[in-house]
């Protein structure tokens, strides 16, 4: 049985290859950060003697969960996140022994509303309109009622008379949280629904905010759990549909998408950097301090990531759509000192 011998010897070879310790940085987390992280990883591999880091995606929450699994070579070194780490997650990390976490904010990303290039123009969006269109309950004649609007023009005559169809990121995405806070809650307050919720909940602000985050469940608001390409596919099949995208994704698909203004401002890296465009969020990655010195190239990767030549206004990340952080120097000093989460609070 020569074939048997062959397979057995291959098996023996495969098992006998006890390689040295892991020498590449292992990264997991936000799919929004993934393109940036892969650009940095590629440049890092090109310009240094370290191997190219491995970058996985899967969402901010999933990434931070894996980050908090514990210490050691079989856990990830860095978690990418499109939102700040939650206290709950810091606690979960600490319970698993991951106590010293370095938080690195490397820039900002705009969240844009976009529709089919050949479809109707959405040029009059206010956060209130998004809330009226997609919120679970809306204010009608001073009363909080279930959302029954069917067309955008039902509540804002400046908007086209098109069927409401919103494609928003699912709850496992960090983008969802920004969408809730910067769009739904703002719109909720502007329409007065927040006050109504507040009265309903006996003045409990947290509960009122939470109620504002509810989206309608009659099929007009669709959660997209996949990537932006899935949202793009949904938009492609619905001329009136409006989707939530990252600025960088939109900028790479200007041949298929048309961007909507929010409060009259068109999203660009400039309007986001000045804060004129209201919906943006900081992007982070989190580093395990205990892995620095154990995994070769970990600190160098973190420093490389936030170097002026990479994350600065002229760097490749800005070219892809990142809004450079004006306080980048502060972050550079923070990483150089390996300042952890607790120490700078």
């Amino acid at each position: 049985m020569s074939l048997m011998k062959l397979t057995v010897s291959v098996a023996a070879l495969a098992v006998a290859t006890s390689a040295q310790a892991r020498d590449n940085v292992q990264v997991a987390g936000s799919s929004t950060v993934l393109p940036y992280a892969s650009i940095v990883a590629e440049a890092f591999g090109e310009n240094t003697d370290f191997p190219t880091p491995v970058v996985e995606s899967g969402g901010s929450s999933a990434g931070l969960k894996r980050f908090c699994e514990g210490l050691g070579e079989n856990t990830v070194d860095i978690a990418n996140s499109s939102r700040k780490i939650r206290d709950k997650e810091v606690k979960a990390c600490a319970e698993a022994g991951v106590t010293d976490i370095i938080e690195v904010r490397f820039g900002y990303d705009g969240i844009v509303f976009a529709s089919q290039k050949t479809g109707p123009d959405y040029t009059a969006f206010e956060p209130a309109d998004i809330f009226n269109g997609l919120g679970a309950k809306v204010m009608v004649d001073g009363k909080l009622v279930d959302n029954t609007y069917t067309k955008w023009s039902d509540f804002n005559a400046a908007l086209p008379a098109e069927e409401i169809a919103g494609y928003i990121p699912g709850t496992k995405h960090g983008t969802r949280e920004v969408f809730e806070i910067k769009v739904l809650e703002v719109g909720c307050k502007a329409t007065g629904a927040y006050d109504a919720y507040l009265a309903e909940n006996g003045g409990d602000k947290k509960a009122a905010s939470k109620s504002c985050y509810g989206v309608r469940s009659d099929g007009r608001s669709v959660d997209i759990d996949g990537d932006y390409t899935e949202t793009l596919a949904r938009i492609a099949s619905n001329a009136a549909g409006v989707g939530v995208f990252g600025l960088s994704f939109y900028e790479n698909n200007t041949d298929k998408l048309k961007v909507a203004t929010v409060s009259g401002v068109e999203p660009t890296t400039d309007t986001i950097a000045t804060g004129e465009y209201p919906v943006s969020r900081p992007l982070y990655f989190y580093v395990k301090k205990a892995h620095i010195g154990v995994i070769p190239g970990l600190k160098e990767y973190a420093q490389f990531f936030i170097a002026e030549e990479i994350a600065g206004a002229e760097g490749p990340l800005a070219e892809y759509g990142l809004v450079a952080d004006p306080e980048l120097e502060k972050t550079q000093a923070l990483v150089a000192d390996e300042a952890t989460l607790g120490s700078n609070m």
Binding site: A11, T17, A43
Partner: protein
Amino acid sequence: MSLYLESPRTKKRNAAERRFQSYGLAAIAAALFFLVVLLGQIIGNGSGAFIQTRLTVPVTLDAAAIEKAEGSMMKTSGYRKLIVASLSAEMQAKGIEAELDSKAAKALLSSGAPNTLRQHVLANPADIGSTVTLKLAGSSRLDGYMKGRVTRESISDDKAITPAHLDLADELIGVGLLSKGFNWGFVTGNDASDLRPEQSGMGQSVLGSLAMMLVVLAVCLPISVAASIYLEEFAPKNKLTQFIEVNISNLAAVPSIVFGILALAAFIQFGGGTIGIEAFRASAPLVGGLALSLMTLPTIIIATRAALKAVPQSMRDAALGVGASKMQAVFHHVLPLAMPGIMTGTIIGLAAALGETAPLLLIGMVAFVQTDISGATSFFTDPNVGMPAQIYIWATRADGAWYERAWGGIILLLIFLACMNIVAILLRRKFERRW
């Protein structure tokens, strides 16, 4: 009633047969139609990935500039300046009046081009000081323009490239500096970041899939053959063996993601973490192969047992009758006759494993990975991805050029599958015996 005339009953029966035959033909025609549409789609969308636009640039390798570049943090940006200066000079020499500012250079040249030059310099240090003519990849937008994917209308809102840049590209074609050629890099290269679709290739993931298939073969074939022979030829038929048989069938129907979670817990967290086997780490094809083995094992066992069952009992009886032991009867007579069936079952199991991404999702093999595979050991332990995972990753990326790459990857995946099937057919021909 004449014999030459069909009775109404015969007519009816013949008509029924003709109807049935036409249904069969229609079914085959429908299947062929779908196959043609599918292949047409794949080839139509994916063939572009095998063609690459390149700029021919005679680069003057200035020693001082290279030394300065090597001393900086972003070494490649120094090389970029060299390329832009050389291309600019070449354009003037060829009589193109338009100026190559940094924006135009960015719009036309791949951001991976400086690294191509740097790798050339590192490999040929003797060239420093002279002028070398290199073919450097054009940007994905330029590539799209050359293939008709990008037009002046489609880039009206694009920030990376303007119609003026496309005019410049037309002039470059005129003087022969810009051309299209076969893209070997797509077959041999590795993944690239989102900014550089033009630099990406499937080569690394082909190796990743190959490594996983070898692991699956090495693990599954001996285990499943041994298990099947024992169950089929030696084991007594009792409650316990029945219980085992039922559970093998059950395992074959378990969703593949379950095996991914099992692999994460058993191999990476327990094997790599608790026991400390260093080869068991995230993103390693060895672990990926083991995860896929768990999934494939029941399938191959079932196929192997069916092949053993198909060997006529008279073979065993004859062998036993001339005094062979049970083991001799099995290994000398039954197993060789069952071999073609075992091969087929194994290849079908491998093909199913090749197409899986779900079990790999949790063990870090659906990721951005760039690895230079060198040596037999790193082949199994260096981080890598499988071909379907690579295709999935590309399909989720923003730039339209990745879509073309994903389809191109499907073509390579199909070729890989076809090769596996051809091997299976050849092996079967070689071992096949008739009785």
